[in-house]
């Protein structure tokens, strides 16, 4: 029961409530639905145990699913980006020697941070919309929904980081 336990437990619950009470009710232009709760995936430290992280990601998605009657699609998408988070980060930072303990996200250039956030957001939203339309013939609709929603979520994530994250540089 350490500090991190309470910090991320609190974040977990707050993000679910925010998503259910606020963001699930927002839809811009009929296409853009923000899924802000994936902030958890970005904030959870990479130094923590990976198995617990995967399990939490699954649980986070499933909790959202419970509130929005969406089966397990949020769980599937959130778990997926939780799993590919580290490989994507490694690929983007282009370090030959990737040291988890020494790694600092703020040391990356803005472009790299930007693409890391956007790739994971886009992949997450794409999985959700593909699973909810559940047919390949709807690919156009899926892509439109994914693109607009990703931009929306992404902007929210940027606002959050601008407001709350300490700049160490």
């Amino acid at each position: 029961m350490n500090n991190a336990f309470f910090k991320y437990g609190f974040l977990f619950v707050i993000l679910i409530l925010l998503q259910v009470a606020v963001f699930n009710n927002i839809s811009l232009f009929g296409y853009a639905q923000p899924m802000f709760y994936i902030l958890f995936i970005f904030l959870y430290p990479i130094t923590q145990r990976k198995s617990l992280f995967l399990f939490l990601a699954f649980l986070l998605g499933l909790s959202i699913d419970f509130f929005s009657n969406s089966g397990g699609m949020n769980a599937a998408a959130t778990l997926f980006i939780a799993y590919i988070r580290l490989p994507i980060l490694k690929a983007i930072s282009r370090k030959l020697e990737f040291d988890k303990d020494l790694f600092n996200f703020n040391n990356l250039t803005f472009n790299k941070q930007f693409s890391y956030l956007f790739i994971l957001t886009f992949v997450h939203h794409f999985i959700i919309f593909q699973l909810s339309y559940f047919k390949f013939s709807a690919l156009g609709l899926v892509l439109i929904n994914t693109l607009f929603s990703s931009i929306f979520t992404f902007v929210l994530l940027l606002i959050y980081s601008g407001l709350f994250l300490k700049k160490t540089r």
Binding site: V20, L62, F67, G71, A75, L141
Partner: protein
């Protein structure tokens, strides 16, 4: 054996990932078949209570428009009642009158509405306690809303007409041409009616109502107006229907309980055997 354990240790994260992903996809696939999403739905006690709390805050902002629509409906019903009293109802035999009372209405409040997804669900604040079970139709003063698919003690979820897994029997008003109401997931104001025979005569602007061939909705509940007609093949046409309802603003609904449903179902099941 040793190699097997090495394999497990080496790929433990991947295996955990696959296991959880399997569960997630299993729930997703289940949710796409009507009535089978046994586990993940918002009609259970906990999510129901949370959504109810959230809704009590939101309701304050809608009070004016909610009152207005209730008033409108009251006026409409009063007018209907006045018309009804012009007939001498006392002349009718009491027994036939009671048999005609085929459907019973109870009111419920929507505590969570959804209309932007490809498959939408609503949550309402009535459950098994108020004899709300699955396969009960929900309407409001403007038209059809959906069908109950899950219920707990105090809450129930509706499968919205804005859901690609739902088909509702409808017909052209004043004719006996039947079709099925479906949704393509594009515009939440526009639904589609398929399987209407080509020889049916109708024009853009005609009204579509429920067909009454199912035990869920009585005949003649309004759905929407014909917006566009497309010829599908040489036998059927497809109709685009503009809903009377604004599905983005649903406050109260009425649940239609058919007391004879079991009787009809048993009768029909006997025929199928």
């Amino acid at each position: 054996m040793q190699q097997f354990f090495n394999f497990l240790v080496k790929y433990k994260y991947f295996l955990l990932f696959m296991l959880l992903e399997f569960f997630a996809l299993f729930f997703t696939i289940q949710s796409h078949s009507f009535h089978k999403s046994i586990f993940v739905n918002s009609s259970n006690q906990f999510t129901g209570a949370v959504l109810n709390k959230i809704d009590t805050f939101r309701t304050y902002f809608n009070l004016t428009s909610e009152n207005k629509s209730l008033l409108e409906e009251n006026t409409f019903l009063k007018n209907k009642l006045a018309h009804f009293y012009t007939e001498d109802t006392l002349q009718k035999e009491k027994s036939t009158y009671h048999n005609n009372l085929k459907f019973k209405y109870i009111s419920a409040k929507v505590i969570r509405n959804e209309f932007t997804k490809p498959n939408n669900y609503l949550t309402i604040n009535k459950g098994e306690k108020d004899s709300v079970f699955s396969n009960i139709g929900a309407v409001n003063e403007k038209g059809v809303i959906g069908i109950v698919n899950h219920s707990s003690k105090n809450y129930a979820t509706l499968i919205s007409i804005l859901n690609q897994n739902l088909k509702i029997n409808v017909k052209l008003k004043h004719t006996d041409y039947f079709g099925s109401l479906v949704w393509d997931g594009v515009n939440y104001n526009v639904l589609q009616v398929i399987d209407i025979p080509r020889q049916a005569e109708f024009i853009i602007g005609d009204t579509i109502v429920t067909g009454g061939q199912s035990t869920i909705f009585p005949e003649g509940i309004p759905v929407g107006k014909i917006l566009d007609i497309k010829i599908e093949n040489d036998r059927y046409v497809k109709i685009e229907v503009k809903l009377f309802n604004d599905m983005s603003a649903i406050g109260h609904v009425y649940l239609i309980i058919n007391p004879h449903k079991n009787e009809i179902k048993i009768l029909e099941d006997n025929n199928n055997e």
